[in-house]
């Protein structure tokens, strides 16, 4: 009992609680779930409000697209997200359902374009690198249309011009695309002012149409007189000024590009309207050439080889390029059993410039009409001939030269023929070649072998002769020479003695003087004798008579002194 009592007693001694401040009502706790409900509801409402239209885009491939993850972006702003991916009923394409944001409702309209942005690495540059890591996204570009639309066909490559970019689009026509690609730059005076936006084969498959977009403000430089040309690659030309290497920019060497410029001279410089059509020329030189006008087809018949003459070889009239060869064909002539070569060429009479207008005026005056055939007929009569000429001695490339050949034989020309057939003459070089050939032929006839042999033989003989001379004749000659030498020595002696003998104090000289004196005397006595005989011829028979007078002989006595010099 006490055990029971004790706590009861103790209870009285227990302390009294103190009074505390009053607490807030417990019912406020219901605000917590209410708040949670409000937040939850707001989430639901927000997501409901944010939800925009759902659109379906069909792509060729769903590569890189993920449901619930891949965003749709316009100018790098997310405007929606891929909701689901599926195949089209015919299994040819991928249908991508996209939940657009409410604010992007305007994108569900007719002219909106969608494409998948993936990393693209091309020669012209790299794009979409960010998607390498972040994964692909769908790009969008809005158009002008307001018509609502839910089904779209996605582009396979990004459009190169986004809506609203200032500038103008132009159409170009070319024979082939060259190395141009979408995105290839367009240059104006070597400044990039635009790019190629698209290209496609024409319906007939014979040419290519390109679309280029020129950014404002440079689009105003595209005028009615503008010429576009393919600026791809490197243009190497070898002219009189030396080697010239020309390129628009290094990028065009690899990726291709287009250049444009106005024709030189006064031109129609009103800016071309958007989507105007232009011709895309192969290179700048062609583009800048004055218009060629209507081409005329001509034909030439060559009887000699036209090696080195190919299609596209130029046709020159007095050195002016007026056309080019379009065909080179072999023919057979049954009559002459020859193989003539028929060369077809296209010429542009407008390239003759002033000459053409004057000729046409002249022809008109004569009443021939403006037909080229008449004019050509006159020219042919003046000796106009086509010649296949060597343009390049190194490569042997030939061109057709239309020239006045002096003294050309008369050629038949039919102005009514279609196409015009221009008579031909042998080219100067081929003539030269012919002559050289004949010279060579003559040279070939010379028996060089025989001559050589003979020469060789002769030389052999000469050699043996010389040997003979060396071994035999020369020693003898030596002996002879010694003999001569000796002889000369003795001659010299003889001469010395002769010299002595002839000196004034020599006995010979004295004897000679005496002898001469003796001869003088003898001559005098002979004269006396002859005078006597003349006077006395009988003396020969009777002998000399006795001198009648000893005094009579003195007259002949004085002459002896003068007769001394002119002796007998």
């Amino acid at each position: 009992m006490t055990e029971n009592e004790r706590p009861n007693e103790g209870l009285d001694q227990l302390p009294q609680p103190i009074v505390r401040r009053r607490r807030v009502s417990a019912s406020w706790i219901w605000l917590v779930p209410a708040l949670a409900a409000v937040v939850g509801a707001s989430l639901v409402v927000r997501s409901a409000l944010e939800a925009g239209p759902q659109i379906t885009i069909s792509f060729q491939s769903g590569e890189g697209l993920e449901a619930g993850k891949t965003p749709v972006k316009y100018k790098s702003v997310v405007i929606g997200i891929v909701h689901s991916l599926g195949l089209s009923p015919d299994r040819n394409s991928v249908l991508v359902k996209v939940n657009l944001h409410n604010s992007a409702e305007s994108f569900a309209t007719e002219s909106t374009r969608f494409w998948v942005v993936r990393p693209r690495i091309g020669l012209g540059g790299v794009s979409g690198v960010d998607t390498l890591f972040s994964g692909a996204f769908i790009g969008a570009d809005i158009g002008d249309s307001t018509e609502s639309r839910k089904e779209f066909i996605g582009l396979e490559s990004p459009p190169s011009v986004t809506h609203g970019t200032p500038g103008k689009s132009f159409q170009l026509h070319a024979g082939d695309l060259g190395s141009i690609d979408v995105g290839s730059p367009v240059y104006y005076r070597r400044i990039q002012v635009g790019h190629v936006t698209s290209y496609q084969l024409d319906a007939d498959g014979k040419s290519v149409s390109l679309h280029v977009f020129i950014d404002a403000p440079s689009d105003r430089f595209v005028t009615q007189a503008t010429r576009f040309w393919n600026a791809s690659g490197v243009d190497v030309s070898l002219g009189a000024n030396g080697l010239k290497l020309n390129t628009e920019s290094l990028a065009t060497v690899i990726a291709g590009g287009i250049g444009f410029q106005d024709m030189p001279g006064p031109q129609d410089d009103t800016p071309a309207p958007a989507d105007a059509s232009f011709v895309l020329f192969g290179d700048e030189a062609t583009a800048m050439r004055p218009p060629d006008g209507e081409p005329t087809y001509i034909r030439m018949r060559f009887d000699q080889s036209v090696r080195g003459l190919g299609v596209d070889a130029p046709v020159e009239f007095l050195g002016i390029d007026i056309g080019h060869v379009v065909s080179v064909n072999l023919d057979y002539d049954e009559k002459t059993e020859h193989f003539p070569i028929i060369v077809g060429a296209v010429i542009y009479p407008r390239r003759l410039g002033r000459a053409q207008t004057k000729l046409a005026a002249l022809a008109a005056k004569h009443g021939d009409g403006e037909d080229l055939a008449q004019t050509v007929g006159v020219l042919v009569a003046h000796g106009l001939r086509a010649q296949a000429r060597n343009g390049n001695l190194l490569t042997g490339q030939q061109y057709i030269g239309l020239d006045f050949v002096p003294g050309a034989p008369k050629a038949a020309f039919d102005p009514a023929a279609k196409p015009l057939e221009i008579p031909t003459a042998r080219g100067s070089l081929s003539q030269l070649q012919e002559r050289l050939d004949s010279i060579v032929a003559k040279l070939q006839k010379v028996p060089f072998d025989k001559i050589g042999n003979h020469l060789d033989e002769t030389l052999g003989q000469l050699s043996s002769t010389l040997k003979h001379v060396n071994t035999e004749l020369l020693p003898e000659l030596k002996g002879s020479l010694q003999g001569i030498n000796k002889t000369l020595g003795s001659a010299d002696k003889a001469l010395g003695s002769a010299d002595k003998a002839f000196s004034s104090d020599s006995p010979l000289q004295q004897n000679l003087g005496l002898t001469l004196e003796e001869l003088q005397r003898m001559a005098r006595s002979l004269r006396v004798f002859s005078d006597y005989l003349a006077a006395h011829p009988e003396a020969l028979i009777r002998g000399r008579r006795a001198d009648p007078a000893p005094r009579s002989p003195p007259p002949p006595a004085p002459p002896p002194p003068p007769a001394q010099g002119s002796g007998p």
Binding site: P17, R20, A26, V32, A36, G135
Partner: protein, 209 residues
């Protein structure tokens, strides 16, 4: 054996903080004379508070599961994950053990708490005598495991702070984690506000009779 006496029957009230036993006061809102903390026979409005908090936790649990809780970006590959998708991803990437841990911490534990509290509350309302001992054990279990359900929040908080390699990889918390954290906090408050003594309260009339 007669039923055990209750403090109420003796007109006594114990301080839950310092353990001082006082006389049951006649006035409202008494305080402990020693430590000054509130003296209450039972937690006030325990049932309604628990209900309210449990309801709030349940409401918040819906967006916590529907909204993504974490954004992992590695090399630009952005990936938003909800709790469930994260678990599925872990499972698919052959981290089944991790998936089970995350699953039990993020899905099983909160759900268990909801159910357990629901059972406890309903039983109190119905003054049920069913499995009273097990119910108090269940309550202690809830108290024990309740802290673990914050695992997900911690993971996200840690990753966000640690994984910051800019472009290479980064982790960002998303609204879902806030709701999930709210769920956990609310269930903890709910279990706190529940007075387990209520399980035994309605025994008295029974016994008296």
């Amino acid at each position: 054996m007669t039923a055990l006496l209750r403090a109420e029957q003796l007109g006594l009230i114990g301080c839950q903080v310092c353990g001082l036993v006082s006389r049951a006061p006649s006035f409202a809102d008494p305080g402990c004379s020693r430590c000054g903390s509130a003296l209450r026979r039972r937690k006030p409005a325990s049932l309604s508070r628990t209900w309210a908090l449990l309801l709030a936790a349940f409401i918040v649990y819906i967006p916590a599961n529907l909204l993504p809780i974490m954004r992992t970006a590695s090399l630009g590959d952005v990936d938003d994950n909800t709790i469930l998708s994260g678990i599925v991803e872990l499972w698919e990437k052959d981290s089944q053990a991790l998936a089970i841990i995350v699953f039990s911490a993020s899905i099983v534990v909160p759900m268990l708490k909801f159910l357990a509290l629901l059972v406890l509350l309903i039983c109190v309302h119905r003054r049920s005598h069913w499995a009273q001992l097990q119910r108090s054990k269940l309550y202690r279990l809830i108290e024990l495991i309740g802290h673990w359900s914050m695992l997900d929040v911690f993971v996200v908080a840690l990753l966000t702070a640690l994984v910051r390699f800019n472009l290479l990889s980064s982790v960002e918390p998303l609204p879902g984690v806030i709701f999930f954290g709210l769920t956990v906090v609310l269930t903890m408050f709910a279990s706190l506000s529940f007075d387990p003594r209520l399980t035994w309260d309605h025994e008295e009339p029974h016994d008296r009779e």
